[in-house]
Symmetry: C2
Subunit: 254 residues, 2 copies
């Protein structure tokens, strides 16, 4: 039901993470033994494929190995362990983000594009949201994403202090909103119940368990009632309006 974090050997993760992408094949002179049948890249790809299709819970060394026609243990030749593999998968997925944000001068558009790209990436790979954010792995793609955000924000001309705050707030916002959206989607596919119905059932149960709900949580009740009944529309709206708050805060004199 949950994913723990922070056990990986950060040192070994970092080494693997920062190996220049093409340099995998290695010198290949003076080496004996059978040719390597696998390599780190293909293992990472297999891991992503498993996690994308079956979800984080199904990501096991055995499952990854099987997808490559090997046993689980064969992977340990290339990768120190599962935690490090997850770090590699995470950074590889972040590498899908576009390198350039193209808004010329219009930083609001550029930041919005960045946020939407990251959001979409999280939705393509929802297991990323279960990789603890409480462990900065500092892979090249993660840092590039950060740099991209800074580039987009540059025209806003924020002082360093405020810039740090804005970056943190933006990143966490996108991640959090993606989590909610991903779960809504999963609930729909996993249970075969549409989003709206799922929420209806949950609300009905809540109303039964806590008949005084509206009295205990008047503001929450009012806010719920005022929104779009379609959860998906509500998520989209929440993303847009939350981002608007953030952008307005960045634009404010401070």
């Amino acid at each position: 039901m949950v994913v723990y974090a922070g056990q990986g050997d950060a040192h070994r993760s970092l080494s693997l993470l920062w190996r220049t992408p093409g340099a995998e094949p290695a010198p290949r002179t003076g080496r004996s033994g059978p040719k390597p049948g696998l390599n780190v890249d293909s293992i990472v790809s297999a891991g992503i494929a498993v996690a994308d299709s079956q979800g984080m819970a199904a990501l096991s060394m055995r499952a990854v190995g099987e997808r490559l026609g090997r046993t689980a243990m064969a992977l340990y030749t290339y990768v120190p362990g599962k935690a490090e593999l997850l770090d590699l998968m995470h950074d590889r997925a972040l590498a899908e983000l576009p390198a350039e944000s193209d808004g010329d001068g219009d930083w609001r558009a550029a930041v919005t594009a960045w946020a939407e790209a990251l959001h979409a990436c999280y939705l393509r790979h929802p297991w990323m949201l279960q990789v603890s954010q409480a462990r900065p792995v500092l892979g090249p793609a993660e840092l590039a994403a950060m740099e991209g955000l800074l580039r987009a924000l540059r025209p806003a001309g924020l002082p360093a202090r405020r810039l740090r705050g804005a970056v943190g707030a933006l990143w966490q916002f996108v991640r959090g909103m993606a989590g909610v959206a991903a779960e809504a989607r999963d609930a729909a596919t996993a249970t075969g119940v549409a989003d709206a119905d799922w929420w209806t059932a949950r609300s009905a149960q809540l109303a039964e368990l806590a008949p005084d709900f509206a009295d205990r949580f008047p503001l929450l009740t009012a806010l719920e009632r005022s929104g779009d009944p379609d959860p998906q529309a509500r998520d989209r709206e929440g993303f847009r309006s939350g981002l608007a708050v953030l952008l307005d805060g960045i634009a404010a004199p401070g």
Copy 2:
């Protein structure tokens, strides 16, 4: 190293979550069999104690049972499974938040107080950050916390749409920042290396692996250099200035 989410039986979790707190003892008439030696509350407390002291990775049914002088299986009499126990633990921890935010009229102060309380709660129970946010369990304490935030925000007079955005952004911001702070602390205690030294080591390794770091990530490099070298101070500052951006955005006309 990671925590998966979303397997729990939401229906059974909700029932347990919303049982009125004092009503545990139950009617106790017409019931035969030995008196229950445990109860849900004590199991939840034991679970929190284990997770607080040993971390999420050490939270097993056996560990919780042992703390209560029972076997793992004894817990299943009271709790459907581990996923549901985790839901209960999460909501119990959130119940530590103060019921009232006291800023009269000054919504900035009230929201700040709310954010700091939630942040502190996450730091007291860092395992909460590994409970997937992508699964709204809708326990009473979680809803009360949400209601509290809405109460604090009320004087700002936001329209519903923008209010939803602000709430989402604030919550995700606090959660994300707490995650970073918690990890910094864990790295210090787990490895016996102080925060600053840990970051120094990581930076040194990065510099070795990516000698062109400053060229590839100029903005990031500049931002890092401009900050306080003490990571703890940096976290505090990041929290304050990020929150300032959010509050300014909320105050902006939109």
